[in-house]
């Protein structure tokens, strides 16, 4: 499979390196000589210096033989033009583009159906806002995935000291929690364990579990995490994501304050928003935060374009007594450090973009994919297709590799948390948790046989 990636920023780089590992044929195109040098130094892919929006460059990159074009430069315009040129040169190539500006929101569908026929428009900002709102609904969660329209939840949570569940053997869980729960993985001291019934959960563990939505609140209570309604939110940073979040909170009638440094931007936001209180100022100024009653906020969300400011604001807010802080971070290098400094609810537009792209590159009918735990594992949501090895027999006989687990089956309106004897039927939607090393084996299980038309 040949894939052309236009843009060698963090997203382009990360996807290129994954695909190269999986033995796919990748060409990375960028105008930035240094960025390209970095790519060819670190990963085994072809590189090309030039603009991905140029027909000459795309032709040279081999667009005619490419199955997928991925346009992920920092510029919406270049991404759009790259797709347009590809659409002319090689109409059957699948086009995936990152387009962030809100002005384009209403046109995603138009871009799909008409010229330039972009198969998938990815807007990580929309995903990030969704992730922030999920975090608000599940306090204490480090990671939340929503499946089957939110009826099935995948949650990563830190096990606190002295809770009802600490030191509990997993096989004893049903006695302590009435609602169905499946523990998919434990992360202890940076190592991921796929547990059996004899394993225990200890304080400090990061626990990944699945449950049905209706049982979630009880389960969280058992972990000593209490769901409280969010009534007051402070947003620091009024960029694209800040504005999107403010809009969404306003629609839900949640009292929202937004702090933005630039007076011009403040004017723009104040103009759009009805009830959101817009404050011009520096979000990392302790005096300002105090004045704006940060301690009375249920949630503080730091969304400026400066990573260090976001970390600082979140730490300040936490120290000043805010119940919940959510931090936006882009640099992958920082992500793994966050829990050590006590910031556990972190969103990353780049990680969101990677997740959205993964789904389209995985084999089989994959509906969504996301990477977890410092990229040690992936969560795949897929349709179990007729003739694939995963259907028609009890799960324990499907050849599911060690390190992978089917954690949910969705059959029409029914949701099941499966056991080894569950049988997947064709067209069930399934959710699989898998260590990164076995993802390609999972892909094989999901692929169809020759007879599939």
């Amino acid at each position: 499979m040949k894939i052309i990636i236009v843009g060698s920023g963090q997203v382009g780089f990360n996807i290129a390196s994954r695909l190269a590992h999986e033995g796919k044929d990748v060409v990375v195109v960028d105008t930035d000589v240094d960025a390209i040098a970095n790519v060819s130094e670190k990963i085994d892919v072809e590189t090309l210096i030039g603009s991905g929006s140029s027909p000459v460059v795309l032709e040279k990159a081999g667009i005619k033989g490419a199955e997928i074009l991925l346009a992920v430069t920092n510029s919406d315009e270049i991404n759009l033009v790259a797709c347009l040129v590809a659409d002319i040169l090689s109409p059957a190539t699948k086009k995936i583009a990152r387009i962030r500006k809100g002005d384009y929101d209403d046109y995603h569908k138009t871009f799909q159906e008409g010229i330039p026929h972009i198969d998938t428009v990815i807007n990580p900002d929309i995903e990030v806002v969704k992730a922030i709102e999920l975090f608000m609904s599940v306090p204490g969660a480090l990671d939340i995935g929503d499946f089957a329209e939110g009826r099935l939840k995948f949650v990563g949570i830190r096990m606190d000291k002295d809770t009802r569940l600490s030191d509990t053997r997993l096989s004893d869980l049903p006695n302590k929690i009435g609602d169905p729960i499946l523990i998919a993985a434990l992360v202890r001291e940076g190592k991921m364990i796929i547990p059996g019934g004899d394993d225990r959960m200890y304080p400090g563990d990061l626990v990944y579990f699945v449950s049905e939505k209706r049982g979630l609140e009880n389960i969280l209570t058992a972990f000593d995490k209490h769901v409280r309604p969010v009534k007051r939110v402070m947003i620091v940073g009024g960029g694209e994501i800040g504005l999107r979040l403010a809009r969404s909170l306003e629609e839900k009638s949640i009292y929202t304050k937004l702090i933005e440094r630039s007076p011009e931007r403040c004017a723009v936001i104040a103009d759009i928003m009805d009830k959101v209180v817009v404050i011009q100022g520096d979000g990392s100024d302790q005096g300002l935060l105090f004045e704006e009653n940060i301690r009375e906020m249920d949630v503080v969300v730091s969304l400026t374009n400066d990573e260090e400011t976001n970390i600082l604001v979140s730490l300040l807010a936490k120290r000043m007594g805010t119940r919940q802080v959510i931090t936006k971070l882009n640099k992958f290098g920082y992500l793994s450090l966050m829990s050590t400094i006590g910031l556990e609810q972190v969103v990353s537009p780049r990680l969101s973009a990677i997740n959205s792209i993964l789904q389209h590159i995985r084999r089989g009918k994959v509906l969504s994919a996301r990477t977890l735990v410092d990229e040690k594992a992936e969560l795949l949501e897929a349709v179990a297709l007729e003739t694939s090895d995963i259907v028609g027999k009890p799960l324990r006989q499907t050849g599911m590799p060690k390190g992978a687990l089917v954690i949910g089956i969705i059959r029409k309106d029914e949701i099941m948390i499966p056991s080894g004897s569950s049988v997947i039927e064709p067209n069930d939607r399934i959710i699989i948790f898998a260590r990164r090393q076995v993802v390609s084996k999972i892909e094989k299980l999901l692929t169809v046989k020759l007879e599939y038309f």
Binding site: D25, E67, A92
Partner: protein
């Protein structure tokens, strides 16, 4: 019915040029789209979509790309040969040389499965594979298939 009832001289290519999957599918799709009066890009897209669910490169140098196409009136087939071989994501990771393409309507009543089974069967014969690779033109291909083409 026989394979040759659905395979046309115009849809046989004995000298495929591309070395990758998408290129070969485009070559194979073009004549098929002409005789069925459909959009070649749409045909390629259908075939690629099917490939993404699992490669039809079944190993042993054989690829049987196929798919269902809306608006198609009858089942059509194509044949392609590549001397140099194509990287077709085959199960044995080896190059693919012999291609049989099957395109069928969305409401096909199972004919496609019968044809697929027939093709898979004749392609199991090494003698047939060797013979078809010697074909210089479409007439040769038809003659070689004729020898093994039984009623089904």
């Amino acid at each position: 019915m026989k394979i040759l009832d659905y395979l046309h001289k115009e849809t046989i290519i004995t000298d495929l040029k591309s070395s990758n999957k998408k290129g070969v599918l485009e070559e194979l799709a073009l004549p098929v789209s002409v005789i069925t009066n459909s959009d070649a890009n749409e045909v390629v897209r259908v075939l690629l979509e099917r490939e993404s669910l699992g490669s039809t490169g079944i190993g042993g140098g054989i690829g049987i790309p196929h798919g269902k196409m809306r608006g198609l009136k009858t089942l059509v087939m194509g044949v392609g040969l590549s001397l140099n071989g194509v990287d077709f994501d085959a199960m044995d990771n080896k190059p693919t040389h012999i291609f049989f393409l099957i395109l069928t309507s969305e409401d096909s009543a199972g004919l496609h499965l019968v044809i697929l089974a027939r093709i898979s069967k004749i392609l199991k014969e090494d003698a047939f594979k060797q013979k078809i690779m010697t074909a210089k033109n479409a007439d040769d291909v038809i003659r070689i298939i004729e020898e093994v083409d039984e009623d089904f």
